[in-house]
């Protein structure tokens, strides 16, 4: 009985694997939308400055994304009205992961200059644009 069920499960899973496409581009596009949304709801004055990677090289993309994610935790909403949108956006940003290419990156997060939140988010947007640009249609 167990054998039969296991065999059928394998068959079912393999058919699902065919249809499950890498939705990478859709994920990245959603992230880009979230960052754009966040740019309008984040507080820019009297806040802590954040380390902002600028134009990282390909080897440092993963480190840069991790750095941006660390920085987003320190962002604050502009006012209480945009709280829910802001929180939703932050959750999306926290969940995002980029595949680690494994190459060595020479710069750490702290080596980058500190900037205001809106500049920080603009650089993050640029990074995601670069990622989308370089994603092939079949995936990453």
């Amino acid at each position: 009985m167990e054998r039969m069920i296991i065999f059928c499960m394998l068959f079912f899973c393999s058919s699902m694997a065919l249809t499950a496409a890498p939705y990478k581009i859709v994920k990245y596009k959603q992230l880009h939308k979230t960052i754009t949304l966040l740019q309008n709801t984040v507080k820019d004055q009297d806040v802590e400055l954040l380390h902002t990677p600028e134009n990282p090289v390909d080897e440092c993309l993963f480190t840069a994304v991790a750095c941006f994610q660390k920085g987003t935790l320190k962002l604050q909403p502009e006012n209480s009205k945009v709280n829910s949108t802001f929180n939703q956006a932050i959750t999306v940003l926290k969940k995002f992961t980029l595949r680690d290419s494994g190459k060595q990156c020479e710069s750490s997060c702290e080596s980058y200059e500190k900037k205001k939140p809106k500049e920080f988010l603009k650089s993050f947007e640029k990074l995601i644009q670069k990622v989308i640009r370089h994603t092939r249609a079949e995936g990453y």
């Binding site: 039969m4 079912f12 644009q129 640009r133």
Partner: protein, 388 residues
Amino acid sequence: MAVHAAFLASTILLLCGMGPCLAAAHSPSGVECVLFNEEYMTCMWGSRETLTANYSLYYWYENRSPVMECKHYLQDQGVSIGCYFNQSEIIQFQPFRVLINASLGSRTLKFLSKPMELQDLVKPEAPVNLTIRNMSSNQLQLTWTSPYPKAQCLEHAVKYKSNKDTNWMEHQVKGDIFSFPSVDYEKYYTFYVRSKINSYCGRTQLWSEWSVPVVWGSNSTSKGSSHGHPRRAIDVPTPLLWRCAGQGSMSPQLFPGTAEEQLHWFWIHTVLIPIASCLLLLVLVVLLVRMERVWVILMPRIPNPSKNFDELFITHNGNFQEWAGVPKDVVESFRPNYSENICYVSELPPKDSCEPLWESGNYSPSVMPGTPAAPCEHSPYKNSYVGL
């Protein structure tokens, strides 16, 4: 003195004349760089009418490369008005700066540009292969392909007009297909398409040129016809939905055809196949549970031989001979009908050539002639018996 004054005045006038001339030569707008379809780039700083000086361009990428001079100047009647960069000299997502030296005579003016982000200056090429298909219920479908390699980065705009309209209608389109809802077969339509990099890949406002037009309908003067390619020749017109979901191991080139066919195919793969396999699994489980025969074939019983020996253990109480059916006289014959006494056996001593004294005196042994007879004092035979 007058000569001096005149000379001074003329020098001043000359310098003043040259000043604005030089300043005007430095066209007010600065440098404009455009990347054409990410294949080459041109940076122009003016046109022949405004420039009269000698120009040279130096460029570099901030923190990334040393200062380099332009290798290929674009000239207009002997004056450099721009620089041509080929694909290997272009790096996107790095700040790019340009320095222009304008020299006229002995004076040199330098102009330093702001840092430019080249990914925001991409101008894709106009779409090609515009095709119109006639769908059912008076609907037209316009499709095209773009020479720009990354289709996920483009958004398009369609402009159309019939021969009876005065204004152009413009629509923004995200995918590679435009559906025109209600077509009037009396009118003659013309369609144009152009593309732009969308906000997911850059922050540009540069649209491409309008494509070559495609027409549909009948004219009063000429019999217009759609520039219809046969269905199979369309190269990757896919709606965004299909591109989102169907990119696993299937490349779109395997499925030439219209967007409708591909949408159909997408539904089959993401919905129908999982549901079908779920149902199959369910059916199999139900079959297994309900049909004992199938169960027994798949999962045969482990044979239990104890049933065959029930008789032996229960009926005959472990008596193997009874159960085996051995006849009674054979059984009896094996049983002994006598009794045995225990018999002691001991060893005989060797003979010492002496005559033993016979106690029982049953018979006197004959004396063999020639053998000396000697009495045995002790005979071990006294107290032992041999016999049955």
